[in-house]
Symmetry: C2
Subunit: 465 residues, 2 copies
C-alpha cells in the first residue's frame, strides 16, 4: 500500500518525492548534497510545508535521503559534491550561437554573467516599473483582458513615431507594428522576406542570436568583416556580387558585440549598393537609447524604401514584459499583420501598456540619462581592469554596455569561457558571434555586469588554464 | 514659413496635422464627419490639448476642416458620411482563414462580435487580475526585469503538471515549456516537426488559425470530416494511407468550432493508427477548463510517445498578457528550448507570474465554476434564439462557448457574414474553418458574445439579404 502511494505522482506528496528523485538521478542533487529547505521547496512547488515534510520523511524511509538533526536533509551516499563542471551537459555543449544564451538564461542566482547581454536587475527602473504596474491595475476592463489589436497600442505607436523623428527617422504610426520583442520582430521579417536556401548578409562578428535565428530559417549566412566604422565596404560590395543576398541584418549604432558605430560615408555607400543590388536591410536599433551622441541611421537616409527599422525595450525597461516594434513600408506592414496573427494571434497588450506608462511622462528620459552616465563610468573601469589582465579592448565604444576585448596571443576564448564557467562565471567567447569563426581570441564584456571583482579574478584564473 | 512648419512631421503640432490629413485621405474621416474631441485626441497621441488646438486651427486655416461654434471641428465637404461597408478594404477581403481574426481583432468598441473566439471583458476575472497586478508590483527586482528562463517559471510548471494529472495526463515539470501563447506553442512545434511540402492532417472544420499558421509553414493540409464523436475514422485511416501526413492537429475536448468531444473509442483508434503510421499528434487543449465533464485526452492514453499537449490561459484569464505551454517528451522539449531562444529569446516572465498569482490560491477554480455556469445558461439562450431565426445548432455541446449552427438551405454563410459586417456585427462564416470549403452554410456563434439582442436582429437582416 505504501509503495503504491509513493509512486503515485498524482498526489502532492508523490510529486514532491518524484521531483527530488529526479534531481538525484540527474545529479543536480549529488550524493552528500543538502536538500532544499522545507519552506523553500514548499514555496517553489506551491504546496504546504507539511506535504514536503511527509515527502522527505518517506524518502528518508526509503534510504534515499538522510535526516541530520537540527541541520536538515541530505542525499545519501558518501561521494563528494560535484562541481558545476561535472554536472553537464552544459560544458560539453559546443560553443555555438546558443552557448552564451543558454548559459546566461539558465544561470542560477549565484552565477556572475559578464558575458550576458542585459543589465543587472538593480540597474533597471524598479520603482518606476512598480508604479506603472499599479497604474495598469486601475485600467479599463478591456485593457486588462482583451487581445491587442494587430498593430498594437496606438498611443505607444505615436510615441515611437516621435522618438524616431528625433533620430531623423520619419515614420507614421500606421507604419509601426508592435511585436513581442526585437527577436520576434526579426523572426517575422525573415518569414516575410526570405526562403530556405536564400543568402543573408551579416556583420562578422554580429549578435549571436542572429546566427541562431537565421539557422532556424535555413538560410545561407555570409559574414562581412566589421570595422570600427561599419562593414568593410570593399568586401561588402564583393559579397553582393558574389552571393546575391536577399537581406542584410545589422546594428547601425552601438553595434553588438563590438560597440562600433556606422560612419555616415559607409551608410551612404551601403544604401547605394543596396539599391543597385535590390537588397533589403533590417536595421536592428535596440540599443538606440544607450547612445551618447547620435550616429547615422540607415532608415533616416533611406526613408523606408529598402530599410526596415526595429527596436525594443528589453534592454532599457524590462526583459520580463517584452515589447518590440517594426517600422517599415506600408505594404510590408500589411503583410506582417497576417503573419503576426497566424503565428501569435494577438500581441501582449499589457506589455505595451507598461512601456507606454513608463515612457509618456518623461520618467524614461530621466532614467536613461542616469543610466548612460553609469554605463560610461563602468566602461572606463572595465577597460582599466581588463587591460590590467592583459586583454585589449578593440575600440573605445561611444556608449552602450559592450566592450569587445582581445585576449593575449596563444589563448582561445572558448577554452577560457569553459574554464570560467566551471568557476560560475559566464563569459561570451568570440566565436559565438563569428560566422567565419575568426574571433577566437575575443570576449564580449558587458560592463554593467562586470562590477564584481570576482569576475576579473575568474578571468585571470581561466586565462592561466 | 508657415508652410514649412505645417509639413514638418517632426514637431508635435505637425504630427497631429499629419494624422488628421492621413485619416481624411484614407476616408476614415469622411467629408462632413466630426473630428475627434481635442481632449480625446490629445490623450491618444500623448500630446497636450494646446497642441491639438493649434493643429486644428492650422488645418482650419488651410480649409481642410471647419470649426462650428460650440460643436467642434468637422471635415470640410458636403458628401454624406460613409458607412462601414464603403470604407473598405475590410469587406473586399476574401473569406479566408484571416477573415474572422482581422475583423474581430481590428473591430472598434461599437462593433458586436458573436463570431470572435473570446469572452467579453466583463466576463473575465477583472478584480482578481487587478489584485494580482498589485501583488506583482511588490515582487523581487529580478522578477520585474530579468528575462525568463527558457522553460519558464518553475512553480507555474509544477501547478500545470498537477492540473494535467487531474485529467489523467502524467507529465513532470521539466517536460513542460511555457510559451507566449497557445498559437506560439503550435508555431514552435511546426518549426520542429514539419518541413515545407510535408502533409499535415486537420479536422474539417477546424480552428481557422490552424489553417493560417499551416499556410505560413507552407505545408500541404488535408482535412478529415469531423463527427460529433471525433474525426470520421474510416476517412482518417484512408488519409493516413493516401497522404502519409507527418502530423495531426486537433482539439480532443470542446472541439473548435463544433463544440464536439472525442469519444474514448475514437481516441484509442486514433492512437493505434498513429502508431502504425508514425504520426505525431498535437492535442490543443486550450478550452480544457471550460469542460463540464472530463472527456478523454489523447495525451493521457498515449503517455507522450506520439502526442504533444498544449494549453493556454488566453480564454480563461486574460488575452492581454499571454501565456501558453507545451507538454511533451523530454527530447522534444530540449530541441524546443533552442528554437524558443532563437525566435523569441526569453519568454514573457511577467505574464507567467500573473497566471501563477491567479491560479495558486484557488481563485481560478472558483471563478471557472461560475464561468461554466454562466456559459451553460448562455448556451441554452443562444440555442433558443438561433432556432427562432431558423438556424439549426449541429449538436448540443457539453460546455465551452461555441455553437456551430447551420443556416437554412439556400443561404451562404459568407454572404450573410459580409452583410452583417456592414451592420457592425462580426460573424464567423463556416468556410473560414473548412479546408475543403464545405461548411458554406455554417456559422460559429460565441454564446458569451451573443447576449445582445442586436446580434440576432442583425443576423435576421443579413439572412434576408
Amino acid at each position: 500500500m505504501l509503495n503504491t502511494i509513493e509512486t503515485d505522482t498524482g498526489t502532492r506528496v508523490g510529486q514532491v518525492m518524484a521531483t527530488i528523485r529526479q534531481r538525484i538521478s540527474a545529479r543536480t542533487l549529488a550524493p552528500g548534497a543538502k536538500l532544499p529547505s522545507i519552506r523553500g521547496l514548499a514555496k517553489m512547488m506551491v504546496v504546504s510545508t507539511s506535504t514536503v515534510v511527509e515527502a522527505y520523511d518517506r524518502l528518508a524511509a526509503e534510504g534515499l535521503i538522510l535526516s541530520r538533526r537540527g541541520s536538515g536533509f541530505y542525499v545519501a551516499g558518501h561521494l563528494p559534491p560535484l562541481t558545476l563542471a561535472e554536472i553537464g551537459p552544459k560544458l560539453d555543449r559546443a560553443v555555438d550561437p546558443f552557448w552564451v544564451s543558454r548559459q546566461s538564461l539558465e544561470a542560477t542566482e549565484d552565477v556572475l554573467k559578464p558575458g550576458c547581454g542585459w543589465l543587472p536587475a538593480s540597474w533597471m527602473p524598479q520603482a518606476e516599473l512598480r508604479r506603472s504596474l499599479r497604474h495598469i491595475a486601475r485600467a479599463d476592463d478591456r485593457v486588462l483582458t482583451d487581445y491587442g489589436t494587430p498593430l498594437g497600442l496606438l498611443p505607444l505607436r505615436h510615441l515611437l513615431s516621435r522618438r524616431m523623428a528625433e533620430h531623423g527617422i520619419e515614420v507614421l504610426p500606421d507604419q509601426i507594428m508592435l511585436t513581442e520583442s526585437g527577436t520576434q520582430a526579426i523572426d517575422l521579417l525573415l518569414r516575410l522576406l526570405v526562403e530556405p536556401g536564400d543568402t543573408v548578409l551579416v556583420d562578422d562578428p554580429c549578435y549571436f542570436n542572429f546566427l541562431a535565428l537565421l539557422r532556424a530559417h535555413r538560410v545561407k549566412v555570409v559574414g562581412v568583416p566589421y570595422t570600427p566604422g561599419g562593414p568593410d565596404m570593399a568586401l561588402f560590395a564583393a559579397a553582393l556580387t558574389e552571393h546575391r543576398p536577399r537581406l542584410y541584418i545589422t546594428n547601425s549604432a552601438l553595434h553588438n558585440p563590438t560597440g562600433a558605430t556606422l560612419s555616415p560615408v559607409s551608410a551612404h555607400r551601403i544604401l547605394k549598393l543596396a539599391d543597385q543590388a535590390g537588397l533589403t536591410i533590417i536595421e536592428d536599433d535596440i540599443f538606440a537609447d544607450f547612445e551618447l551622441e547620435p550616429a547615422p541611421r540607415l532608415a533616416a537616409f533611406d526613408g523606408f524604401e529598402r530599410v526596415i527599422h526595429i527596436g525594443s525595450f528589453s534592454k532599457t525597461l524590462t526583459a520580463a514584459a517584452r515589447c518590440g516594434f517594426i517600422a517599415a513600408r506600408r505594404d510590408f506592414i500589411e503583410r506582417l499583420i497576417d503573419l503576426k496573427i497566424a503565428t501569435s494571434f494577438g500581441g501582449n497588450a499589457l506589455s505595451a501598456e507598461l512601456v507606454l506608462a513608463l515612457m509618456k511622462d518623461g520618467t524614461y528620459r530621466k532614467y536613461m540619462n542616469g543610466l548612460r552616465d553609469r554605463l560610461s563610468r563602468a566602461m572606463g573601469e572595465t577597460d582599466r581592469r581588463l587591460r590590467a589582465l592583459g586583454l585589449k579592448p578593440w575600440i573605445e565604444p561611444r556608449g552602450g554596455m559592450f566592450l569587445w576585448s582581445e585576449l593575449p596571443e596563444g589563448l582561445d576564448a572558448a577554452d577560457v569561457a569553459r574554464r570560467a564557467l566551471a568557476d560560475n562565471v559566464v563569459l561570451a567567447p568570440g566565436n559565438a558571434f563569428s560566422v567565419s569563426q575568426t574571433a577566437t581570441r575575443f570576449l564580449r564584456f558587458n560592463v554593467g555586469q562586470s562590477s564584481d571583482a570576482r569576475v576579473f579574478a575568474a578571468v585571470e584564473r581561466a586565462m592561466r588554464g
